[in-house]
């Protein structure tokens, strides 16, 4: 079984974001980056498939971006991936989802992957497009927002998440692209020995030019923080004073306290 997992390295969402000089993306300086939360579920599911097959699977972890993304690839390897692929592009943030999907498809095209895992969306761009667009380019079946996944032979039974907690059960044959939703599984923490082992694993690097052959279809003209509606009161300062203030506000608002 050949498996591809596509992952993105994204800033910690608790960071303070500033806009870059061109005004069209966030400034990457001073940000801490990590593996996209949705992609952790993708890596974990791939590793579980391999474990279920008694190791008879080969997992490639792919990330497109500047050198820092290797850190995310290494985490994927420490979680159980077999090989890392870094497609190097310092300007990946300027590529639209169509271009990123095309690069993934161009990389995967002649490699006969049985299963391609992606996250349902990235935490920074959040277009929720790349997995499904890559499937279309590869002419693979695509099943989005999975919250359960069971494989038996070349048949997968899974659940898609719908609105309001409802789910849709589906069955499909490989090959397929699947996109992973939060809660699909419980991603493991890489252990120290596995982190050490990951250092020995194969890591291939390619320039983006090897796989990019399409122009972008959409352009980000501007990025900016949302307008504050200024509706609310912001309280800051000493915890005890804050607790006093908030207690008197809540005494008015909570019927049980009146």
């Amino acid at each position: 079984m050949k498996i591809l997992v596509c992952i993105k390295h994204v800033p910690d969402m608790e960071s303070r974001f500033r806009v870059n000089e061109a005004g069209n993306w966030y400034d990457e300086r001073d940000l801490a980056f990590r593996l996209n939360e949705y992609d952790e579920f993708a890596v974990e599911q791939a590793v579980r498939v391999k474990e279920q097959l008694g190791g008879a699977a080969d997992i490639t972890i792919l990330s497109i971006g500047p050198d820092r993304v290797i850190e995310a690839v290494k985490k994927g390897l420490a979680m159980g991936g077999d090989r890392g692929v870094h497609i190097k592009d310092d300007l990946v943030y300027q590529k639209d989802p169509w271009q990123v999907a095309s690069v993934i498809a161009a990389f995967a095209r002649d490699k006969n992957f049985d299963l391609v895992f992606t996250g349902m969306q990235s935490q920074d761009r959040g277009s929720a497009q790349i997995g499904a667009a890559a499937a279309e380019l590869l002419d693979y079946a695509c099943i989005t927002t999975l919250v359960s996944f069971e494989i038996s032979g070349d048949v997968v039974t899974a659940r898609r998440e719908l609105e309001g907690g409802m789910r849709g059960a589906v069955r499909f044959k490989l090959p397929a692209v699947v996109t992973c939703q939060l809660g699909l599984n419980t991603p493991r923490y890489p252990t120290l020995p596995n982190i050490m082992k990951a250092k020995q694993k194969e890591l291939l690097t390619f320039p983006i030019a090897d796989f990019l052959n399409v122009e972008s279809l959409a352009e980000t003209e501007k990025m900016y923080p949302p307008e504050r509606k200024g509706r609310g009161l912001v309280l800051e300062g000493d915890v005890n004073e804050l607790a006093d203030k908030l207690a008197s506000i809540l005494k008015e608002k909570a019927p049980a306290l009146r």
């Binding site: 279309e136 499909f172 939060l182 990025m223 608002k253």
Partner: protein
């Protein structure tokens, strides 16, 4: 400008959210037609053309067939914009339609500025303005961002689509309803919710204690539920419950779009977050910038006196 609006239909019914597509077309000032893959009886109240395909024939969930039907209707209509909701249906289909057409896709539109589309980024902490570079584009709109003005009315002219489609690659086995609720948060007057900022399962009790002195129920965000710290029946948000209590206290919650969708109608919202820029501040009446683990116990002590 012409838009083709893709109706949302499930379990034999047109979903109300379909009218948000019409609201968006109103905002665009565009001529619109709709596509319904469903049943004739579920046709939307709309005086215009509705391309219609029978879900009895094509299935309610059959991405390959639905993609072909959307492409067929878009071609017949010569649509500039093909518009979906940013929903489980839309994000499944829209990228495939866009890729098939080699058309730009803009996802999760929340507004329009000078003819550009505004979308959220970085867990709603930032916004982006996007411009499609292709003449035709596929758009998905954020649920709840556009509200239809007035009452939808009219009787559509249906134009039936008939396509021969091959066997589906994905077999639909059926729907599973959300778990039965043992707590009905919708009835609570006060809800105090725990987010990932509470840090660990053992700390949830501190949030529950505050809920108790306020005479309310404990709620939670999705990561807290997924981690098993709080049962799923208490999840607030688009994939949990929608609530509108008199008082909602959000503890260590960032304020993602999906969480806010479930609680923004609350009368009075208090947020406790150590990050002053957390997007929950956009809907909060009071944002207290503090560590929940210090503030909440101090608050509970004061309120229980």
């Amino acid at each position: 400008m012409k838009t083709l609006l893709i109706c949302e239909y499930r379990q034999g019914k047109l979903l109300e959210s379909t009218y948000e597509l019409l609201a968006f077309a109103q905002r665009l000032n565009a001529e619109s037609a709709m596509l319904l893959i469903g049943s004739e009886a579920a046709a939307p109240a709309f005086s215009g053309k509705v391309y219609f395909a029978d879900a009895g024939q094509y299935g309610e969930y059959n991405p390959d067939a639905h993609k072909r039907l959307v492409l067929e209707a878009a071609q017949k209509e010569n649509a500039d914009y093909i518009v979906f909701l940013h929903s489980s249906y839309g994000w499944d289909l829209a990228p495939r339609v866009a890729a098939a057409l080699k058309a730009a896709q803009v996802s999760e539109i929340v507004g329009m500025v000078d003819g550009r589309f505004e979308v959220p980024a970085c867990n709603a902490k930032m916004r982006r303005l996007l411009k499609p570079k292709t003449a035709q584009a596929v758009l998905t709109i954020q649920a709840g961002a556009f509200n239809y003005q007035g009452e939808a009315r009219g009787t559509p002219q249906l134009e039936r689509l008939d396509l021969a489609v091959s066997a589906p690659r994905v077999e639909f086995l059926g729907y599973e309803e959300a778990e039965k609720k043992d707590v009905d948060l919708a009835k609570a007057e006060v809800i105090v919710s725990a987010g990932r900022g509470v840090g660990k399962q053992e700390n949830v009790g501190i949030i529950a204690a505050l809920a108790k002195v306020l005479g309310g129920e404990l709620g939670a965000t999705r990561p807290v539920v997924d981690a098993g710290w709080v049962e799923h029946t208490r999840q607030v948000g688009s994939s949990g419950q929608t609530v509108a209590p008199k008082l909602y206290v959000a503890c260590g919650i960032s304020g993602s779009i999906q969480h806010i969708a479930g609680m923004k109608k609350s009368d009075f919202i208090v947020a406790i977050n150590k990050d002053k820029d957390a997007p929950i501040g956009e809907v909060a009446d009071v944002l207290v910038v503090a560590d929940v683990m210090q503030l909440v116990p101090a608050l509970t002590t004061r309120l229980s006196k």
